[in-house]
Symmetry: C2
Subunit: 286 residues, 2 copies
């Protein structure tokens, strides 16, 4: 695991904004996010990450409720966020109403040109399956003014195929809007999702910024485990009392994947050995 | 991450023996391992894991030295270990001299029939590349009296393709002989390799027993981070002052991969989306 001497490169200021959306309150949530984006951008953030479904809330009681807070990819809100962001890149989760009238649990990447890319979550957690259709496209890697940014949503990240995929496609930074339901864990341990994120960062030498949410919603609590993880896999920052986590992330240092003078995190892969299993849909018979 | 109610099943007693081999001292190391296997078996261990290269030591100074402590797959030592083990299964690392006269960093799985399976490490760490040839076969999943046991060696485990592969092929338990060179880590954090093992256990709902080594060798220290991890990803046991970690592992509980009433750790995979990337050898151009 020992890294060699760091190659210093462009430092990018990443901010995660652990907001507390209210379910069903689209206008309120959108305005709260706009204000938070503006504040973070004026404080110097260059990449700003917001929670999953920040516009809609999470714990829907009906399809009608979910639909009532869904917006399309060309909603003017994203231009408003772009204006608030100045030159910063924003990634945020939202409930998307597609042209096909289906709902998707999506994340939008916004820059000065407005909504650049929308990704539809491909691995849906639990009751999300009642309200959302799973996406069918791979997680994007978007070239931006602040590096190539990979985007996925919450449970997606728990699949190592997903994190590996964006690393293989050259992501300098992975950003992950999340809503992590609270769960028991042993004393002294990070949330399980953070363990998974740290391991993914280590295995791919790729910084990962996870933006969780706060605010109890219909009895549901959250880990509130927002963490920005460096390319060596160790946490750089967690959210303070104000819900904001900020870190300077060295994107260039992890463009090389050296782990030792003879080892490379991606180059040492042996697709000749495991490719057959990886594409398999075989499941244990137990 | 929240698991549902546990399905209780056959408990298997797993013991990791964090021994301190001496480089170049084959007879001494083999005898030390024999004694430790016998002691563990008489204490009730059913699956016994020893370190990587426990017969040979690790920090070789020359090819001749490595060759001098290499043994073949049919070495009588493995029958001796089988006898010491009674009915237990033993997995241990050794320096293998192949029929092709090449050296491999291998692990042997032994049961009452003697050496059942030999796996040759496919991802070689740093100076291992000076002495060993990388294996060309996938990590095995071996049906034993105590469940289906996956076997890989040290750095192999840092590739999520490897851990996923044995889980997809039905491993109830993954055992990993290791030699983890000491490396700095933030206060309060487990060794990076343990973070990776915990994440792999979580992502695959698969218990993992990692057996590290102890004893400074030619100035090289080790994490001494031997840990048995449950199928939920949390540590069950670490090595005590005697170097032994013992845990009762519920192998049946993780034969189902349910994460929620609607989620399944393996069934939720989307090979339709990521198979193309997974088999790719593409690397970032940065």
């Amino acid at each position: 695991m020992t890294g060699d001497a760091a190659v210093m490169g462009p430092m990018v200021t990443v901010a995660c904004l652990e907001l507390a959306p209210e379910v069903g309150e689209l206008a309120r949530n959108a305005a709260m996010a706009s204000r938070a984006i503006g504040t973070a951008a004026r404080s110097g953030a260059q990449v700003i990450v917001l929670p999953e479904l920040v516009t809609s809330g999470y714990c829907f009681e009906s399809n009608d409720e979910a639909r009532s807070v869904s917006i399309s990819q060309d909603d003017p809100l994203f231009d408003q966020w772009s204006a608030e962001a100045g030159g910063a890149v924003v990634v945020a989760g939202f409930a998307e109403r597609g042209d096909d009238e289906r709902l998707y649990n999506s994340a939008v990447l916004i820059d000065t040109s407005g909504a650049r890319t929308v990704y539809r979550k491909t691995h849906l957690w639990d009751t999300e399956q009642l309200f959302f259709t799973a996406g069918s496209a791979a997680a994007p890697v978007v070239p931006t003014a602040f590096g190539r940014i990979g985007v996925m949503v919450c449970y997606d990240m728990e699949f190592p195929e997903m994190t590996r995929s964006v690393a293989l496609r050259g992501a300098d930074l992975l950003v992950v809007p999340t809503n992590w339901p609270w769960a028991q864990r042993p004393a002294g341990m990070p949330a399980g999702e953070i363990v998974i994120a740290m391991a993914a960062a280590m295995a791919n030498r790729m910084p990962i910024a996870c933006c969780d949410r706060r605010g109890t919603e219909r009895g549901q609590r959250w880990h509130q485990a927002t963490t920005i993880i460096g390319g060596d896999g160790w946490p750089l920052a967690t959210a303070g009392p104000d819900g904001v986590a900020v870190a300077e992330v060295d994107l260039a240092a992890t463009r090389h994947k050296h782990l030792s003078s003879r080892n490379d995190a991606l180059g040492d892969r042996r697709p000749d050995i495991y490719s057959r299993d990886e594409v398999s849909t075989t499941r244990p018979d137990g």
